[in-house]
C-alpha cells in the first residue's frame, strides 16, 4: 500500500509530470483570461496600449523577410498599374483636352448656382496624416496599426477617414503607434443616416461580411444604392461623412458596402473633430 502510494507520489513529482501540471495550469489561466473577458478591464487596456508599440517594433524586425517579399510584390503590382495607367492616359489624352474645357465651364456654372442658392461650403476638419503599418482588416476583429509623427495630437476615439469616407476610430494608442478599430470589426457600432430622408440607424460590423444596419424604424423605405453617411450622434464621428452604400436589403437586414477599402490605402487621415469641439 505504502509502496504504491510512494510510486504515485514519485510519478507526480517526476519532471515530466511537473511540466504537464505547469502546462495545464497555464492553459487554465489562459482560459480564465479569455472567458473572463479580461480584455475589457482597464488594466488590460492599459497593458495592451503600452505593449502594442513594443510588440510592433519586435514583429517589424522579426518579419523583415516577409515584409521585403510583400513590399517587392506590391512594388511589381504598382509598376504594372502605373504602366497600365500611362497607356490609358496616352490613349485618352486627346479626348481629355476636349472634356477638360467642358469640366471647367461646368464647375464655373456650379459655383454660380451655389452662389445664387446661398449654399454653405462643406465643413472641413483639421486632420493628421498617418501611415498604415499593419493591416488586420481581414479578421473578425478588424483593426489596423498606424504610425504618425504627431502622436501628441492623437486621442482615443479620434475618427479615421480615407480620401472617400470614414474608416473607423482610434481605439488605443501608444508612443507613436495607434490602433484603429475598423467599421467591419464585430465590436464596431456607428450611428448612421441613410438616404436623403435621413433614416437613423446603427451600423454594426460583421467581420469579413458587409456591415449591417440595425434599429431602423422605416426599414421598408430603404432601397439598394441609398447613400449611408455618419449621423453625428454620439459625438465621436462628425456628421455627413460618407460611409458607403446600401448593397442588399432582406427584410430588416440591411447590408452596407463600405466606400473605403483599407487594403488599398497606405495612409489615412485622423480628423480633429472632438478636439475642435472641446476648444470651441
Amino acid at each position: 500500500m505504502r509502496l504504491s502510494r510512494n510510486l504515485r507520489v514519485q510519478k507526480i513529482l517526476s519532471p515530466s509530470s511537473r511540466v504537464f501540471i505547469l502546462a495545464i495550469t497555464l492553459f487554465i489561466i489562459s482560459l480564465i483570461l479569455f472567458f473572463g473577458r479580461f480584455e475589457l478591464t482597464q488594466s488590460a487596456k492599459n497593458l495592451r496600449s503600452y505593449l502594442t508599440n513594443i510588440s510592433y517594433s519586435i514583429s517589424y524586425i522579426v518579419s523583415t523577410p516577409s515584409n521585403l517579399i510583400n513590399s517587392g510584390i506590391q512594388s511589381v503590382r504598382d509598376l504594372k498599374e502605373i504602366y497600365h495607367q500611362l497607356n490609358e492616359y496616352n490613349r485618352n489624352k486627346l479626348i481629355d483636352s476636349l472634356s477638360f474645357q467642358e469640366i471647367i465651364s461646368m464647375k464655373l456654372k456650379i459655383a454660380q448656382y451655389e452662389d445664387l442658392l446661398n449654399l454653405a461650403a462643406d465643413q472641413e476638419y483639421d486632420f493628421i496624416t498617418s501611415r498604415i503599418v499593419a493591416d488586420f482588416s481581414n479578421k473578425l476583429i478588424g483593426s489596423i496599426l498606424i504610425k504618425s509623427n504627431e502622436t501628441k495630437k492623437i486621442f482615443v476615439d479620434m475618427p479615421a477617414a480615407g480620401p472617400n469616407g470614414i474608416l473607423g476610430r482610434v481605439s488605443s494608442l501608444d508612443n507613436n503607434i495607434a490602433r484603429v478599430l475598423l467599421l467591419n470589426n464585430i465590436n464596431s457600432r456607428l450611428p448612421v443616416s441613410i438616404s436623403e430622408d435621413a433614416h437613423q440607424g446603427i451600423m454594426i460590423g460583421q467581420g469579413q461580411n458587409n456591415p449591417i444596419i440595425k434599429y431602423l424604424k422605416k426599414y421598408k423605405k430603404i432601397k439598394v444604392g441609398d447613400l449611408v453617411t455618419t449621423s453625428g450622434k454620439g459625438g465621436i464621428f462628425p456628421p455627413y461623412l460618407v460611409v458607403g452604400q446600401v448593397a442588399r436589403t432582406e427584410g430588416e437586414r440591411i447590408e452596407v458596402e463600405l466606400i473605403e477599402d483599407v487594403s488599398q490605402l497606405t495612409h489615412l487621415m485622423l480628423l480633429n473633430y472632438k478636439f475642435k469641439q472641446d476648444n470651441e
Binding site: P15, S16, R18, V19, F20, L22, A23, I24, L26, F27, I29, S30, L31, I32, L33, F34, F35, G36, R37, F38, E39, A44, R48, L51, T52, S55, Y56, I58, S59, Y60, V62, S63, P65, S66, N67, N70, V133, A134, D135, F136, S137, N138, K139, L140, I141, S143, L145, R179, I186, Q206, G207, Q208, N209, S263
Partner: protein
C-alpha cells in the same frame, strides 16, 4: 539520448517569425495562428522541458497584443495543441502520423464549430460556412507537408550517445 536544444531554438524562432508575420499577411484563407498551432502539434517536444510551456504562453500573449484578439485566446490555443499530444502519449495512444492527423483533424472540426457558434451566439453574426472553414481546411491540408519537413529537421539533430 535525443538532444532537442538546437532544433528547439530553431522552432522557437520559426514560431516567433510566423506569429510576427501577422503584421504583413492579412488573408482570409491563411490563419497564421492556426499554422503556428500546427507546428506546435507536429513538433516532438521534450517532455521534461518546462520552458516550452512558458514560451508558448508568452507567444500567445504576444500574438494577442499584436493582432488585438482577446487576452488568453492564442495562448490557450497554443497550449491546447501542446497538451493534446501530451495527453495522447499519457493515454498510450500510438504515435503514428496517421493517428495524429486524425486527432488533429477532429480538433480542427471542434475548433471551427466552436468559433462559428461563439460568434453566432455571442455577436449574433452568421459567418459564411466557406469563410469559416477555409483557414482550418488549409491547416489540415498543410499537415503532411509540415510534418515531413519538421520530422526531417528534428531527426537531423538527433544525437545518439
Amino acid at each position: 539520448m535525443i538532444d532537442f536544444k538546437i532544433s528547439n531554438l530553431i522552432f522557437y524562432f520559426i514560431l516567433f517569425f510566423i506569429v510576427s508575420s501577422n503584421i504583413v499577411f492579412n488573408s482570409i484563407y491563411f490563419d497564421l495562428t492556426l499554422i503556428s498551432g500546427l507546428i506546435i502539434y507536429v513538433l516532438r517536444w521534450s517532455h521534461t522541458n518546462w520552458i516550452i510551456c512558458i514560451i508558448l504562453f508568452l507567444f500567445g500573449v504576444y500574438n494577442d497584443i499584436l493582432v488585438s484578439t482577446p487576452f488568453g485566446y492564442t495562448s490557450s490555443l497554443f497550449l491546447c495543441f501542446y497538451l493534446i499530444d501530451r495527453i495522447r502519449s499519457f493515454l498510450s495512444v500510438p504515435s503514428n502520423t496517421n493517428i495524429k492527423f486524425i486527432i488533429f483533424s477532429l480538433l480542427m472540426i471542434i475548433l471551427s464549430s466552436m468559433n462559428y457558434f461563439t460568434i453566432y451566439f455571442i455577436y449574433n453574426i452568421p459567418i459564411p460556412f466557406f469563410i469559416n472553414i477555409m483557414p482550418y481546411l488549409v491547416v489540415v491540408l498543410l499537415y503532411y507537408p509540415l510534418d515531413f519537413i519538421i520530422s526531417y529537421i528534428q531527426t537531423k539533430y538527433v544525437r545518439i550517445k
